[in-house]
Structure formats: C-alpha cells, structure tokens
C-alpha cells in the first residue's frame, strides 16, 4: 500500500507543492484523490528534501491545500501497448475515449522514450508520394524524416495534413502503414474534421488517435506527443509498421510548457518561453527516424501555427532548428484562392536529394525541381520590380518569367483537395510549364533531359 499524503501546501498555477513526503523520486507520477471522489494525475517536477513539486495534468482548479490526498506511484508516465491500440482513440493521459473496451496491454512503456543511438540509425532515403506536387517535386518527403508544416491562424493546414495522411504512400506496395494522430489544444471542430476525414477513407481503422482539445486541461498537452510517439515507436520498431505521426498544434504544446515554466518562476529566454524549449522539442522531433535492421519507420509531420505569421518566433524558429526542413503556408496565396497555399521559396526538405532521382522518382527530378524553383523565384522578383517601376522596366525574358510564375501558382501549386498527383504526372506538368521558357533558359537541367522531356522535343 502506498502512502497517501494530505500535505498539499501551496498551489501555484498548474503546480502544487506536497510536503513531508518520503521516498519520492523525480518524474514520478502521482494520483490526486479529490474530496469529491474524482482522481487527477500529476508528475514530480522537482523534489527537494521532503517537498515534492508536482504539475497537475488536469489543472489545479478546485484543489485546496489539505483537502486532496496525494499518492506517488513509484513510476514515471507510462502507456500500455498492444497491437490493439490501432484503430483506437485516447485522451491526453492515455485513457480510451471512444467508448470501446479497454485495451489490454501486452506491456507498459515509459513515454519519455530513449534516444536512438546515432550508430543504429539508418539514413532516410525512401520517397513518400503525398500526391501533392509542391511537396513531391519541390520538397520531397522521405521515410523517417521530420518535416513540419509552418502555418498560421486561419490557413488550411488541417485540410493539407488530412490530404497527406490520406494519400501518402511509398511506391513499393504490400507494407503496413498507419497514422498516429496527436491533437493538442485544437478545437472540437478541427478535430472532428480530422475524424471525419479519416473515417471517410477508412484510415481510422489504421490510426491511433490521442486527443486533447482546446477545452481539455492544457497541462495534459505536455504528455500527448510523448504518448503518441511511444505508441508510434512500438508500432514501427516492434511491429515493423511504417508510421506517419501528425502532431497538431505544437504551438499549444509550447504554450503549456511556458505556463509551467512561468509558474516555477524560471528565468525565461525569448518571449517568455523557457530556455530548455529547444531541448524539450528535440526530445519529440528526434523520435522520428529509421533503425538499421528494423522494418518500420517513423515519419513526423508536426503542425504549428506561427504567432503573428512570424517565422522567427521561438516556436517555429526552434522547430526549424531541429527538423529536416519545413513546409511554409502563405497567406497571400491563400487569399488568392490557391490551395494548398504552399510558400514554395522558403519551404525546404533537407532530405530531398536522398529520396529523388532514377530508381526512386525519375532521372530528371533534381533538374526539374531546381529549374522550377529558380524560374519561379525569378518570376516573383521580376513581378516585384514591375510593381515598383512598371511593367515596361522588365526585359522581354523577365516578362516571360512573370507569366510563368502566375501559371505556376495556378496550375502547379494549386491542386484539388481530392487530387492525388502521381510523381510522374507532376514532373510532366512541371515540364509543360517550363515549356513556356526557351530551351536556353533551362540552365539547371542536363542537356539530355531537355532533349527527352522538353515539350515538343
């Protein structure tokens, strides 16, 4: 029988201080029995002699010193795992909330995870076709990569993420694929959108969902990505499945972290976020990857909304410092009615070179990617000049580039929400647009490929 303490002394924000404790360890989980019989959960953030500082996942509202009974469970936060978790929905503390029977775990795992030994990692090289040309052709995603979507309030990142989850596949068949979906502080409406999307396409049967909504306890958000990734690691490395993990919205996660940090009166770094935000985020993002000799993989697509559309805000900034590229969404494109409004120029997949080319996508992929990128960049900057100095300030060629970039946005970037463009079709589309330019302008593509693919060649 574990001892129960009635010695809650101070309550500050989401934290409570329990006194006169013995044998309590760092990161241990506590059960808090409320006077009304309900149970909350907490985790030890610091233990100093006989005082334990506990963060309460469900929040401290209604808690009074002396009234609650606290029991320390002698273990860290764990999740029960078995193949039956696939197709199920859990709350932010890992309890089923889909009305189905409880999952009978084969084993429990600590949710913090253990770092992969760099020596054991296998480099991600396998092309994932998302059917979205701005990703497949220009910012190629590979298995085991962590590629976030930098979005902002009101932009259609849920639609894009759902489309990716629905369409993503590897050009090889017969492999087991599942989605692990972690919602942190998103609205019911948004979460419901994802549910319906998954349901519509049958993806729900091969998804594991962890849901913490906007009106759920904010501190619970801190556990959500860890639960989700522990489930993902189990499915990937023990059951050999290929897992796409969608984490949305990381901004809400970071805000919960800031709330705790503020309650602890820690010295903040930028904008009130704790100095260890980088480390904390990397403990999540670095759990993407592949391991030599194990079948499965974890590909991560975290979604975050940039406060004030600002890429240098600590959340996108520190994310960008950890992930392997980023897909940026653009408000101007969105306002022009372009879906998906992928801001091509600042977007980047750092692992693209490994997943493209002959035998993976197509021989001309790198050339087409570079040429489309360069042509679009030139068209855009020519357009800016035209705005200042007038159309007439442009050379003949630059005017061509302006036309190109307009069509590129309307035909290449834009695509239907149900449109699943095969990589070959997307490359062909790229060539049709490049065909607007004289051959001599295509300096980034090998001569041989121009001969072979240039429209009318």
């Amino acid at each position: 029988m574990r001892k129960e303490y009635l010695t809650v002394e101070n309550i500050v924000g989401p934290l409570m201080l329990v006194e006169d404790v013995r044998g309590v360890a760092y990161a241990e989980i506590a059960e808090i029995l409320m006077p009304d019989g309900s149970v909350r959960h907490g985790q030890v953030l610091e233990v100093h002699e006989d005082k334990a500082l506990v963060q309460v996942f469900e929040g401290t509202s209604g808690l009074t010193p002396g009234a609650a009974r606290v029991k320390f469970l002698g273990k860290g936060l764990q999740i029960g795992l078995s193949p039956d978790i696939v197709g199920r929905m859990f709350d932010g503390f890992g309890r089923t909330i889909d009305g189905g029977p409880p999952v009978i775990p084969e084993r429990y795992a600590d949710v913090n995870g253990v770092p992969i030994n760099p020596e054991a990692r296998d480099y991600p090289t396998e092309f994932i076709q998302t059917g979205i040309s701005t990703i497949d052709v220009l910012n190629t995603l590979v298995r085991g990569q962590k590629l976030p979507i930098f979005s902002a309030a009101g932009l259609p990142h849920p639609r894009l993420a759902a489309q990716i989850a629905r369409q993503a596949r590897v050009l090889k068949t017969g492999e087991q694929f599942a989605v692990v979906f972690a919602a942190m502080g998103i609205t019911f409406e948004e979460s419901d959108f994802f549910m319906r999307e998954f349901e519509k396409t049958g993806a729900l049967e091969r998804a594991v969902l962890f849901i913490n909504l906007a009106n759920d306890p904010p501190i619970e958000r801190i556990a959500v990505p860890k639960l989700a990734l522990t489930a993902a690691e189990y499915l990937a490395y023990e059951l050999g499945m290929h897992i796409l993990v969608i984490l949305t919205d990381m901004t809400n996660y970071c805000e919960a972290l800031r709330e705790i940090s503020a309650a602890r009166k820690e010295v903040p770094s930028r904008r009130g976020y704790p100095g260890y935000l980088y480390t904390d985020l990397s403990m999540i993002y670095e759990r993407a990857g592949r391991i030599k000799g194990r079948g499965g993989s974890i590909t991560q697509m975290p979604i975050l909304s940039m406060p004030e559309d600002d890429k240098t805000h600590p959340i996108p900034d520190l994310t960008g410092y950890i992930t392997e590229g980023q897909i940026l969404l653009s408000r101007p494109l969105f306002n022009e009615g372009i879906y998906p409004p992928v801001d091509v120029l600042p977007s980047l997949s750092r692992l693209k070179d490994r997943g493209t080319g002959e035998g993976k996508t197509r021989e001309d992929h790198a050339g087409v990617m570079n040429q489309l990128y360069a042509a679009y960049a030139r068209g855009r900057s020519a357009k800016e000049i035209a705005v200042v100095l007038g159309e007439s300030a442009l050379s003949e060629t630059d005017r061509l580039y302006v036309q190109f970039s307009g069509r590129f946005e309307r035909e290449f970037i834009a695509q239907g929400e149900g449109e699943n463009r095969e990589i070959a079709a997307a490359l062909d589309l790229g060539w049709r647009l490049l065909g607007m330019l004289p051959k001599g302008e295509l300096k980034r593509i090998k001569e041989a490929y121009i001969e072979k693919y240039y429209p009318g060649a």
Partner: protein
C-alpha cells in the same frame, strides 16, 4: 581507486541537477556516482555541505535519500590508439560498442570502456633503454590507421631514464616501457587519462600563418582560416552551417579531424558515419574515416553530457596535436552547448546574465577557443602541431546581436556569416561576402602569393571591391532603374554576378564542385576578372556591351568550376579564347 569512505545522500533532484550532502572533501569538478543506479555526474558547485551535481543521464526515478559516492577523479577521457574512426557520446562512451552491447537505444546506465582494452597494437620503439626522456618525447610509434601514425609520448610531468622498452604487440593497458623517474620506476601504458577541463600543455605558442585549405572557394579565397586559427559560422536554421562543417571535415587539409555534433540531429551524425568510410581523402586517397574522430551528443541526449561534449572533443584533438599533427575541430553547434550551460545555471539559480545565459558565458567560450592554436609541442624534437577550431552558432531567429554570437565574435578571428536571404535564393554556401571577414587575410596572402601565384592577393582584393561596388549600384538601380547606369557600371554588375554565380556558388553535393584546389580557385577567379578587364577595354574602344554579354564563351566560363582538377590547364586555354572573343568585338582598327 575509490579509497575514500565519503558517501553522500541526495537532497534534491531537478532535471539533470542533483544536490547532495555528506560528500566530505569531494572536490569541484569531481565525478560522482548518483543514485541506486550509479549514474555518472560531475560536481559543479559546492556551498558548504551542499554539492550540486550535473548528471550525465536522465534522472527519472532518482530522489532524496538515495546515495551518492565520489570517484576521486575529475571527468577524464581515455587517450591512446583506437580513438580514430570511433564515435563517442559527450562523455566519451563509445556508441558503436554501446550498440553492440545494449542495442539500438542509448539506455540509462549503459557503459563500456572508451578504448577497446583487448585490441593489440604493434608498438615500434623510437628510443632505447638508458635514454633520458622528458615530457612529450616520442618513445615509439603505432600505425593507428593507414594515414595516422600514433606517436606514443612521455606524459606531461614525467622525466627520467628508460629502464625498459621493447617492440611488440600490446593491449592499451599493458606497459610498453618503464621509465626510471625521481619518484621511482613508472610503467608507461598506451592508455593515458586526461581531465577534459584542463588544457594539455605545449612548450610554446606560435602565431598561425599557414592556410588551412578547405577546398571551399568562398572560404579559401575570400575569408581564409589558418592552421591553428579559430572561426565561427553563425546563421539561422537551414542556412548551411552543418553543410559548411561537413565540407570542412571532409576536405580541410588537416591531418586529423575531430567532429563534435553537440546538441544537433542524429541523422546528421549517421550521414557522417555512412559517408566518411566511402569518401576518399584527396591527399592520401584513403577513406576519410581513417583520420576522423566523432563525438555525437545529439539534441535528445542528456544536456549535461552535451555540456561536456565539446571538452571531450577538444581534449582528444589536443592529444593528436601534441603528437605534431595539424588537427581541426568542428563543433556543431556551440549555441546548444551554451544552452546546456544556461540550463544548468538556471537550475543552480545563479544570477542570470543576458537572455538567461550565465554571466560566465563569455569567459567559458573564450577559454574553449583559446585551446586552439599553433604551437611547439612538448618534447625535445621541437615538433610543431596545430589545432584549429570552427564553431557553428545558431542564433535565435538569426539575430546576430544575441549573446552567444557576440561573445564568440570577441574571440574568434574569422567570421563566416550565413545569410537567410542567400540561402533562400539557394546561393550556397550562403556566406555573406559583405559582412564576413578573416583576420588571417594578410598571412594567407603571403603564403599563397608564394605558393600559388603572386597575384593571389590582388585577385582577392579586386573581387571584393567589385562585390562591394555591386551592392552600391544595386541600391541605385532600386531607386532609378537599370537604364540610368553607364555601360561600365552594367559591366561591373555582370562581373559581380559572375563572381557570385560562377565562383562563390559551390554545390557541396556535386562530385567535382565539392572541392576546389587553390590553383584552380585562383584560375577561375583570374578568368572572371580577366573577362571583366578585357570587356572593359573593349567597351572603351567602342564595343557594344550587349554583344559582349552574348558571347558564347561566357557559358564556358560559367562551367569552369566543373572542370576536373586534373585538367585545370584547360582554364588557361579558356582564358585565351575568352580574351580573343572579347577583343574580336572591338570595332576594326582598334584591335590590338
């Protein structure tokens, strides 16, 4: 070695910080074993009977009342043959052996000797019985890898007469020699230990002068670093810091590379592990891994070990420098190291300085970079060694005014500023030519003036002048448009563009472009500047700028960087053709 009885007790745990009491005469920076699991930690503050300890592993499950015991020694690394081609974590645990013994994840409490104790090395003496030797003298050698001869040195502080020494195959803990010292006979093994926070001594420091050739055109030609010099690479995320560091690790003409992945991505270390055994060193033709030591404490590995990782790396680097090698150390990223310090400092509740960093941030950074240098090593042969240090810096939001960048700039001599805008235009390496600098320019001009071409410095200065003028002209164009420029100015803009695109831009992933020798760098730049001069002359003689710019030879110039090293003379012939083509456009009667 733990003779002392002191056995402390934990009173506080807060993340990686543990406070204990009852540790008696345990000293500052001493290593201790923490908790029932015996996790390694290091004492970083002592207040009366309260010892603050940074723990190198995750502390979940550790709590007050659990034991702490001192080890009697500070954090040390193993030095000896077998370091090269290995990969270690921040406290020198060998990741390859951990994987073999504990599996794919770095589990808590995993431990293995840094250097394989069982492996035998063939030792050939260079000294004989009866010789008098002192610290730094080379007793014998071991072929550690086909490119690095491991020189077995008399450790600092030792002096005496060789009592015995013999050729043979030895494991690292077996004595290869016995030295009769004033304090009695001391057996000397291949394995020595050294505390990481103490710089290894040298006989004398020298001013560094010889260029560290990196094969990267923007670095070698515009902002060179020297053997024994220091450089920093700050830039926002995705601007190319890691690619620059990897390029240096691959192609820099140092004898040995120590690469420290400090709080960065696991996949980036994996990339090195996969590539380096495959890539050949352009000088020796041997796989790069045979001259490389790796330290990987990725961002998700414990922060206290991250703090230690740069010291672990630089101590190993100094050890090879002491043998007389030129060693280069890359640390990616020093910001993550500084953040680890900040995290520990915050938990110690120290008075924070700027942005929460500890007040001693600048002095720690300085003392780290100060371990770089060119020096005369200990030992009677007067051999020279050098240690160059190149640190990446990851400023929040790319803001160069933040404390880590500022403190670093005060100590390093070379600044390679990576620019978000250039990276956005896919101009790589995205090193901003207007803000970057090297304080070694003069020394390198002298050496390259002798070894490459006497116009080396002149070329560089002219290229820089053109680039500066380009920035001014662009400002003007923004205001009044291109039409307002004279033909000469428009030509200058074209020349600047050629310098940027056909010289400075360098694709790390292209097999030829990835490395350019100094003679080839010189030739490409001379070709571009030559074109500029000839065109300038032709315009003065009445030729049309547009015609010059349409010359097909310009296409050849833009492909000059792709000319293989073995065919660099082709560039001289190309220069001749370019000259003839440009001069051919002068109105008749003006041709020379």
């Amino acid at each position: 070695m733990n003779e002392r009885k002191a056995r402390g007790e934990i009173v506080k745990v807060s993340g990686p910080l543990v406070v204990a009491r009852g540790l008696g005469d345990t000293r500052m920076y001493e290593m201790v074993r923490v908790g029932e699991m015996g996790l390694y930690g290091e004492v970083i503050e002592i207040r009366g009977d309260r010892f603050s300890i940074q723990v190198y592993e995750e502390t979940g499950g550790i709590g007050p009342g659990q034991p702490v015991s001192p080890t009697g020694a500070p954090l040390t690394v193993d030095l000896g043959p077998g370091l090269i081609a290995s990969i270690f974590d921040g406290v020198q645990r060998p990741l390859d052996r951990l994987k073999a013994e504990y599996g794919d994840f770095v589990v808590r409490g995993a431990d293995a000797p840094s250097i394989d104790r069982g492996r035998k090395w063939h030792f050939t003496p260079r000294r004989k019985r009866g010789d008098r030797v002192a610290a730094g003298d080379i007793l014998g050698v071991i072929p550690e890898t086909p490119v690095i001869e491991h020189r077995v040195m008399v450790p600092p502080g030792w002096e005496g007469t060789i009592a015995s020494i013999a050729e043979g195959d030895y494991a690292v803990e077996e004595p290869v020699a016995v030295i009769g010292t004033a304090g009695g006979e001391r057996p000397l093994t291949l394995l020595v230990k050294w505390p990481v926070r103490t710089p290894r001594p040298v006989a004398r420091r020298l001013a560094p002068v010889e260029p560290l050739v990196t094969g990267q055109r923007v670095l070698d030609t515009l902002f060179p670093i020297v053997k024994g010099g220091t450089a920093c690479v700050p830039g926002p995320f995705g601007s190319g810091k890691t690619v620059v560091q990897h390029q240096l690790a691959k192609w820099a003409d140092a004898d040995l590379i120590v690469y420290v992945g400090c709080g960065e991505r696991g996949n980036e270390m994996t990339e090195v592990l996969i590539e380096f055994p495959e890539l050949a060193d352009p000088r020796s033709g041997r796989p790069l891994i045979e001259r490389t030591v790796l330290v990987a404490n990725t961002s998700n590995m414990p922060v206290a070990a991250r703090e230690a990782s740069v010291f672990t790396g630089i101590t190993m680097a100094e050890y090879y420098r002491d043998m007389g090698y030129s060693v280069a150390l890359m640390a990616d990223s020093t910001s993550r190291w500084a953040e680890a310090m900040r995290e520990m400092s915050g938990r110690l509740e120290e008075m924070p300085g700027e942005e929460g960093f500890p007040a001693y941030l600048a002095s720690r950074l300085a003392s780290f970079y100060e371990r770089a240098g060119r020096s005369v090593c200990l030992g009677s042969d007067g051999r020279e060694g050098s240690l160059s240090v190149i640190g990446a810096v990851s400023p929040p939001g790319g803001d160069l005014s933040e404390p880590v960048v500022q403190a670093t700039l005060r100590v390093v001599k070379v600044f390679w500023g990576l620019d978000d805008k250039l990276a956005g235009q896919r101009h790589f390496p995205a090193i901003n030519w207007l803000s970057s600098y090297s304080l070694y320019g003069d020394a390198v001009d002298r050496t390259c003036g002798e070894k490459v071409n006497r116009y080396w410095a002149k070329n560089r200065q002219e290229a820089m002048a053109i680039l500066k003028r380009e920035a001014e002209l662009e400002e003007l164009v923004r205001l009044v448009g291109m039409d307002a420029l004279s033909a000469q100015d428009r030509l200058l803009l074209e020349a600047a563009k050629m310098i940027r695109e056909d010289f400075l831009h360098q694709n790390a992933y292209d097999p030829v472009d990835t490395y350019t020798s100094l003679p080839k760098q010189f030739r490409i730049l001379r070709l571009i500047l030559g074109f500029y001069h000839w065109a300038y002359g032709a315009i003065a003689a009445g030729a049309e700028l547009d015609e010059i710019l349409r010359l097909p030879v310009r296409d050849e110039i833009s492909r000059a960087k792709g000319v293989p090293e073995e065919e660099v003379e082709a560039l001289d012939r190309l220069a001749e053709r370019a000259r003839a083509a440009v001069e051919g456009l002068k109105p008749s009667g003006e041709r020379s």
